[in-house]
């Protein structure tokens, strides 16, 4: 190895002696001999060697592939049914409702869609509505709300935030709830009927509570405190709404006003322009019969929500869920793919390492 001049040795000792001799006369300016100042802190110095990297690849592969398979299988076990009821085609039962929509009409337009479930849906079934090409994530849309007002703040009720413009006031009265999000509340009503073997329509009970986040329901959204939400509040309903906020669910005070769960679900804006939102839950009745047995069903839609003007789509989705949520084949496939690639990379790198790496044996370092 190289012979080199080592600047390290000559200090250390005699400087100590000189600083003793000069003690009291000249203070030695010698820097402290601490590991920190001398940059000799103990340190872990990892190196990317074949011994660490290759096993890492295999381990990642071995972990990811089983997870992927598990995810894929459980995703495949999930039953999901989807039906588009926008009414774009003339063949669609909702075509006329969609075409003849007018904001001012007082009589709701109702349409029904028949569909068949090939397989029974076991356990709890979740009913979603899906919208496409609906930009709930647009910046102006997202910010057009007043969380203070929704939290029951009195002053915000009377004087909503400027962010709500142009849905802040109407006819000189503040709008409650204000803003574009609330204004565009999805207000189609979906009802589901099972057509049994006798061709009778059995209403399927739809649970409308328990569809929102716990924090939203109990923390984020609150009705204004001392005044029960009622018409004495000097507020106006949002422009698009047919009824004021305190009539969203008059039957249940715990689901009315700002804490109406349909409203809360809508107010949790989606990340992407195509999204689904939980609408109702169909609870499992007993262990013996499936929640939704296979067979014919009718979806009855009270068509209040126009989307055709901006080329939107509306869907109804029925789905069961597993431990990892709803149907999600992508995750499983992605895990299997990444795991396999890692494993493959591990093999390739191992071959490359053995074939081309000759230097590791010779410890000589060129100088």
């Amino acid at each position: 190895m190289a012979t080199s001049y080592n600047a390290k040795e000559e200090d250390g000792h005699h400087s100590g002696a000189s600083s003793h001799g000069a003690a009291g006369v000249v203070k030695s300016k010698k820097p402290d001999n601490t590991a920190f100042k001398q940059q000799r802190l103990p340190a872990w110095q990892p190196i990317l060697t074949a011994g660490t990297v290759l096993p890492a690849f295999f381990v990642i592969g071995l972990i990811f592939i089983p997870i992927g398979i598990g995810l894929y299988v459980s995703s495949n076990n999930i039953k999901e049914f989807e039906i588009d009821y926008t009414g774009v085609d003339i063949s669609n039962p909702c075509y006329s409702c969609a075409k003849n929509f007018s904001w001012n009409s007082t009589t709701p337009c109702v349409c029904s869609m028949n569909f068949t479930l090939e397989q029974p849906f076991e356990s709890n079934v979740f009913m979603y509505y899906g919208l496409s090409n609906f930009y709930q994530n647009h910046r102006r849309y997202v910010k057009s709300r007043d969380d203070s007002q929704l939290n029951g703040d009195q002053s915000a009720l009377k004087n909503p935030s400027k962010e709500c413009e142009p849905y802040r006031t109407s006819d000189g009265l503040p709008i409650a709830p204000c803003g574009a999000i609330a204004n565009s509340l999805f207000n189609d009503t979906l009802e589901l009927y099972h057509i049994d073997s006798n061709n009778t329509r059995n209403t399927i009970p739809l649970v409308k509570k328990g569809i929102a986040w716990w924090t939203d329901k109990h923390v984020k959204f609150r009705n204004p405190g001392f005044i029960k939400l009622n018409k004495h509040l000097c507020t106006n309903k949002p422009v698009n709404w047919r009824k004021p906020v305190y009539e969203l669910d008059p039957s249940d005070p715990d689901n009315n006003g700002f804490i109406n769960e349909d409203f809360i679900v809508w107010m949790r804006t989606a990340a992407l322009p195509t999204f689904r939102k939980l609408y109702r839950i169909i609870q499992k009745k007993s262990n013996t019969t499936p929640t939704l047995p296979s067979g014919k069903y009718v979806l009855e839609i009270t068509y209040n929500y126009p989307v055709l003007s901006f080329d939107g789509r509306k869907r109804m989705i029925l789905s069961t869920i597993s431990w990892m949520g709803g149907k999600n084949p992508f995750l499983g496939i992605a895990y299997i793919t990444v795991g396999s690639i890692c494993f493959f990379l591990g093999v390739v790198l191992l071959i490359i390492h053995h074939k081309y790496d000759t230097r590791s044996n010779s410890a000589d370092i060129p100088n």
């Binding site: 989606a270 322009p273 995750l331």
Partner: protein, 1106 residues
């Protein structure tokens, strides 16, 4: 520094009348109150902010802030910008305020010093700040001079006084000042109070060594020079008291005029960074334009139809205007690609590196009790890129401790021993004490024949030493009888005078008109008629003395080249012998001087003294005329002999040079010494070796001959060993690595060039030839160069080679070179501190240079490069996610993350781990970088951070952003919580992406960090921890209840992070981001390992086995 503005009417000249405040007031001269502080309490905030906003970066962020205040544009809350900006501004402001506080304190202390002012015939105590131009003040011993004074009279005879100028120029020897003879007679206060002379002089300037003025008094003119001036900052020594007339006060004094800021140096990384930042701005604008076009299309195709649910904001009435606003909105959210914290972090890292340099024990010299000092904190990483070192010789390579070693007297050479010989004990050190009680016991000489010849009374020998005892500017201090201390301005002079002292010609004391010596025990007093000063152009000094017998003689000593030209023709034979001796001495690496004398007749003296007086009084071109007068008398001299002084090499110089040249650093020695001396030093410090293919010497005096020389050099170079021919070739195919350090220099060329030739070589038409030839050589020595030429050489290389240059020197003559090189290093040695004051780094031994470059410089460069790579990567990964999101949110400039996350990402979540890496990272231990100097090469070739590396980082960042956006996007769009609630809401998406981002960049920094100290662990884990802690705090119900409008992410953290799908998504994204990087790095290390990788692996194996 100071705010004083020069009054225009004072431009031409300055008039000062003594004891006449009313008259002087007309000119509105500056008072003696100095103000180096910049602010007071009221002005601090506005002035400091104004200064800070002159930084482009700060203004840019202010501009962003203003944009954010426009609601239609604001895509982010104002605090995302104001928090970092305020942080940066306040850190800087606090630093400025502290600095200024200390300046205030020192200003106050200085301004309130007391001085005695003569007012209406009475001495009154006044504060310094109340002293006016034209006042006469009294100074006592050991007092600081309050302003630039004209010395009027002193307590010492002949109006002499002694000063120490350490604070001014760092020289610790005493200097003598003398008043004009007419005023020195004034004596006491009463006479001085009625003194009403008027001084007309040059306006304030910063030249410490010259002053030009005239005193008009009683209708007579007296010339004033620097010899009559006491400058502010000096200390009066060995003088009971003196009186002076204030000429320049306060900011006009030479001290304050010199305290101007030196040129601000920038590193190449700095420049690259600025370019890249500009490119990034361009990139930002491109992104903005793309997204704005997208916005226009979207608003036209979709947004206009979507108006029933989302109407356009009032001022927007068409898609084009919306696109215009969207452009600015995107500029705001994408601005994080150039985060404000970049500049601050870079400064912090550099500061850390500077402290490591200051703290390094191995660059501490225990003999002189000085540690290395990084005087500039902004250049550290450039230390890792140096390709050319320009070194002074004396005091830098050598110790600058001179010993009188050999001499040639009348053709006879004396002195046998030099330090380069081994201490064999063959020579006995002469003992002077029996012969001469005044001898200096520390003086060593090893040839008794010289002493014999003195004892015998050889007249030439006597004259030789008489010259040495008379012709100098040394001051003596005789504390008690026989205990002499010499204070010399240059160590050479001290050595010569000491030699004369030991050989019986003892210099005892001097007055302006006399020199008293003891010659072989007999006191003799010479009348000193004139001193013909030394300067760099004349390269000689002379004195004209009249001995007690009345004979007038000129003694001259100087560089042989100038002196031998001025000898009387009859000296030809002696001159030849002496020249041979001189060459011999120079070949031994000794510093030589030739000595000569000339007898002057009374008439000659009279005539010359008249012309001299005439030149002395001249107001314009005084210097030139004086030089001409000197030239006139220094002719036809008789040669006495020559002296040779040894200047020992510093410890470790050859080894350092060997290591540095192995690191592919080219070392050029620029010295004022003669060629033979320089070449010899070159050999002794292993710059030149005997196995060198050829050492070219260029010493032509004319343009043609120099050009001829270069031509022949390049011809020979091509014929000779091919590898050594061209610098470019060497880089492409480095010679096979030899096993021994010293061997590597073999087969190389060296170039030695003379001052005359250099002057021609530096001319525009030949400089290319010079550069190409010199750069092809392994070693270059320029001898007989002037300070200006030193700087020119450095500039030349800077201009033509685009390489990083480092200049190292210790004396005032190196200042220009130190200032013009990229990096200036000052050696704090024997020659004052001027070089240190001008330098960027200073230490006391040349050998510390290898540690500064190979260890600190290399690490700094490595750390800075790794820091920058990672920094750009993490910000692109962070920011570009918004770009992809733009395609899904109608190009509305909606951010992906929570605004608090955006605010804190750069200053909290990711700042400390990368800072820790930038400060502490090491790839190989310090001793390894000295053992394998080749490790230095990546820095010189700029391999670790350049445009290519930058694009790789950016590409990696963009890749990461793609993964970070599309993986959660694909997974979450259909996923639901286990309660059936969809996960595709905006807040869940934001939290998932942000968490994945923080984890990915943390894993990446973990991969990048090669040296995990406890700080790295704390910072990396702490940052991750702080991310989760802060997120949970921000999403907590408590905060939401207080500010419902600000913290609307309430509950998102817990409901998101409790979902297994979210964690699976994060793990998937992390794997996809990191696996390719890991594979790529592994392949790089495995197949094409860099030297540092090999050394690192090797070190680890060793540590493992031991």
């Amino acid at each position: 520094m100071h705010q004083h503005k020069q009054k225009p009417k004072n431009k031409e000249e300055r008039r000062v009348r003594a004891n006449d405040r009313d008259y002087n007031e007309k000119f509105q001269y500056a008072s003696n109150c100095i103000m180096t502080s910049k602010y007071n309490i009221i002005t601090f905030l506005p002035v400091n902010l104004f200064e800070q906003f002159q930084e482009v970066a700060n203004t840019y962020f202010l501009f962003l802030l203003i944009l954010q205040l426009i609601p239609q544009i604001s895509s982010l809350s104002w605090f995302t910008t104001i928090v970092p900006l305020a942080l940066v501004l306040s850190i800087t402001a606090v630093k400025d305020a502290t600095d200024d506080y200390f300046r205030h304190k020192s200003d106050n202390q200085v301004n309130n010093r007391q001085s005695q002012v003569l007012i209406r015939g009475l001495l009154q105590n006044e504060k310094w700040m109340n002293v006016r131009v034209g006042d006469i003040i009294k100074l006592e011993n050991n007092q600081f001079v309050a302003a630039d004074l004209l010395l009027l009279s002193s307590s010492e005879p002949h109006g002499l006084c002694y000063i120490e100028t350490a604070e001014l120029d760092g020289e610790t020897n005493m200097k003598v000042r003398q008043s004009v003879s007419v005023t020195s007679e004034l004596g006491d206060q009463n006479n001085l109070a009625s003194f009403d002379g008027e001084v007309v002089c040059e306006p304030p300037n910063n030249k410490l060594d010259r002053f030009c003025g005239t005193l008009y008094w009683r209708d007579k003119k007296y010339t004033l020079t620097n010899q009559n001036m006491l400058l502010r900052g000096c200390v009066l020594r060995n003088t009971e008291a003196c009186y002076g007339l204030v000429i320049f006060a306060g900011p006009d004094t030479k001290l304050m005029q010199n305290s101007g800021r030196t040129k601000f140096k920038r590193t190449s990384i700095d420049r690259l960074m600025n370019t890249l930042v500009l490119w990034i701005f361009g990139f930002l604008v491109c992104m903005g334009v793309i997204l704005a076009v997208g916005n226009a299309v979207w608003e036209r195709e979709v947004g206009s139809l979507f108006q029933s649910y989302l109407p356009w904001d009032p001022p927007v009435d068409n898609f084009l205007f919306s696109a215009f606003l969207s452009f600015w909105s995107y500029v705001i959210i994408l601005n994080t690609v150039v985060p404000i914290s970049l500049y601050v972090s870079v400064e912090v890292i550099r500061l850390g590196h500077s402290y490591f340099i200051n703290w390094d024990q191995q660059m501490f010299c225990s003999q002189c009790n000085t540690a290395a000092e990084a005087r500039t904190t902004t250049l550290n990483e450039e230390l890792g890129q140096v390709e050319y070192i320009f070194s002074d010789k004396t005091g830098t390579l050598t110790q600058n401790i001179m010993s009188f070693n050999k001499c040639s007297i009348n053709g006879q050479t004396y002195g046998k021993y030099t330090h380069t010989h081994t201490l064999s004990g063959r020579f006995i050190r002469l003992d002077f004490t029996p012969f001469n009680p005044l001898a200096d016991p520390n003086f060593c000489f090893y040839d008794d024949t010289l002493l014999e010849s003195v004892k015998v009374g050889d007249s030439h020998t006597h004259e030789f030493f008489r010259l040495l005892s008379l012709c100098h500017t040394v001051m003596s201090e005789e504390k008690s009888e026989g205990e002499l201390v010499y204070k010399a301005q240059s160590p050479d002079e001290g050595a010569l005078v000491t030699a004369a002292r030991n050989f019986g010609f003892v210099f005892r004391s001097r007055t302006p008109g006399t020199i008293t010596t003891t010659e072989i025990g007999r006191p003799v007093t010479y009348t000193l008629l004139a001193i013909l000063d030394f300067n760099n152009i004349r390269k000689r000094m002379s004195v004209i003395v009249r001995n007690p017998e009345g004979r007038i003689r000129l003694y001259c000593k100087g560089a042989d080249t100038v002196l031998l030209e001025r000898l009387h023709p009859c000296n030809q034979e002696l001159m030849n012998i002496t020249s041979d001796h001189l060459n011999e001495y120079a070949a031994d690496g000794l510093r030589t001087l030739a000595l000569a004398y000339r007898d002057l007749s009374e008439d000659e003296w009279e005539a010359w003294s008249e012309s001299h007086r005439c030149a002395d009084k001249a107001t314009n071109c005084r210097e030139d005329r004086l030089a001409a007068a000197y030239e006139e008398i220094e002719q036809d001299m008789m040669l006495l002999g020559a002296t040779a002084i040894e200047d020992k090499l510093q410890e470790g110089v050859p080894e350092t040079i060997a290591v540095l040249s192995l690191a592919n650093i080219k070392i050029w020695v620029l010295t004022g010494d003669k060629q033979e001396t320089a070449v010899n030093i070159g050999y002794s410090c292993k710059m030149l070796t005997d196995n060198m293919t050829e050492v070219f010497i260029i010493r032509g005096h004319t343009v043609q001959s120099v050009r001829q020389d270069f031509r022949s050099v390049s011809l020979e170079g091509q014929e000779g060993d091919g590898t050594g021919g061209e610098g470019g070739k060497q880089l492409q195919c480095p010679p096979p690595p030899p096993s021994n350090l010293m061997d590597n220099i073999s087969g190389e060329f060296a170039l030695v060039i003379n001052g005359h030739s250099l002057a021609h070589a530096l001319e525009a038409d030949m400089e290319m030839e010079f550069v190409s030839t010199a750069c092809a050589c392994k070693a270059v020595i320029c001898c007989r160069v002037t300070p200006l030429q030193k700087a020119q050489v450095v500039e030349l290389i800077k201009k033509h080679k685009k390489a990083v240059t480092l200049a190292i020197g210790d004396g005032a003559n190196d200042v220009s070179m130190i200032k013009s090189a990229h990096i200036g290093v000052g050696i704090s040695g024997q020659e004052g501190i001027q070089a240190v004051l001008a330098s960027d780094y200073s230490f006391s031994q040349f050998r510390f240079l290898q540690r500064l470059l190979l260890v600190h410089g290399r690490w700094s460069y490595l750390r800075m490069c790794r820091f920058l790579c990672y920094f750009f990567y993490k910000n692109f990964a962070f920011t570009m996610v918004h770009f992809w999101f733009g395609f899904f949110c109608g190009f509305s400039a909606q951010t992906v993350y929570d605004q608090y996350f955006i605010t804190l990402y750069n200053i909290v979540y990711t700042s400390l781990p990368v800072l820790a890496m930038g400060i502490f990272d090491q790839d190989v231990p310090d001793q390894r970088s000295l053992e394998y100097p080749k490790l230095y090469e990546p820095g010189q070739l700029n391999l670790l951070f350049n445009k290519r590396e930058f694009f790789i980082c950016i590409a990696q960042g963009i890749y990461t952003s793609v993964v970070l956006f599309f993986v959660p996007c694909a997974v979450l769009s259909d996923a639901t919580q286990s309660t059936g609630v969809p996960l595709a809401d905006y807040q869940t998406f934001a939290v998932t992406t942000a968490t994945a981002l923080v984890i990915v960049v943390s894993v990446q920094i973990a991969l990048d960090t090669g040296f995990w100290t406890v700080f790295n662990h704390v910072f990396v884990w702490g940052s991750l921890g702080s991310y989760f802690t802060i997120m949970f705090a921000l999403h907590s119900q408590t905060l939401f209840k207080i500010f419902p409008n600000q913290f609307h992410f309430v509950g998102s953290a817990q409901s998101t992070l409790l979902q297994p799908v979210v964690w699976l998504t994060i793990a998937l994204a992390t794997a996809i981001c990191i696996v390719p990087v890991l594979a790529f790095r592994f392949l790089k290390v495995d197949l094409k390992p860099q030297l540092s990788d090999t050394v690192r692996k090797h070190t680890q194996t060793q540590r493992f086995y031991h």
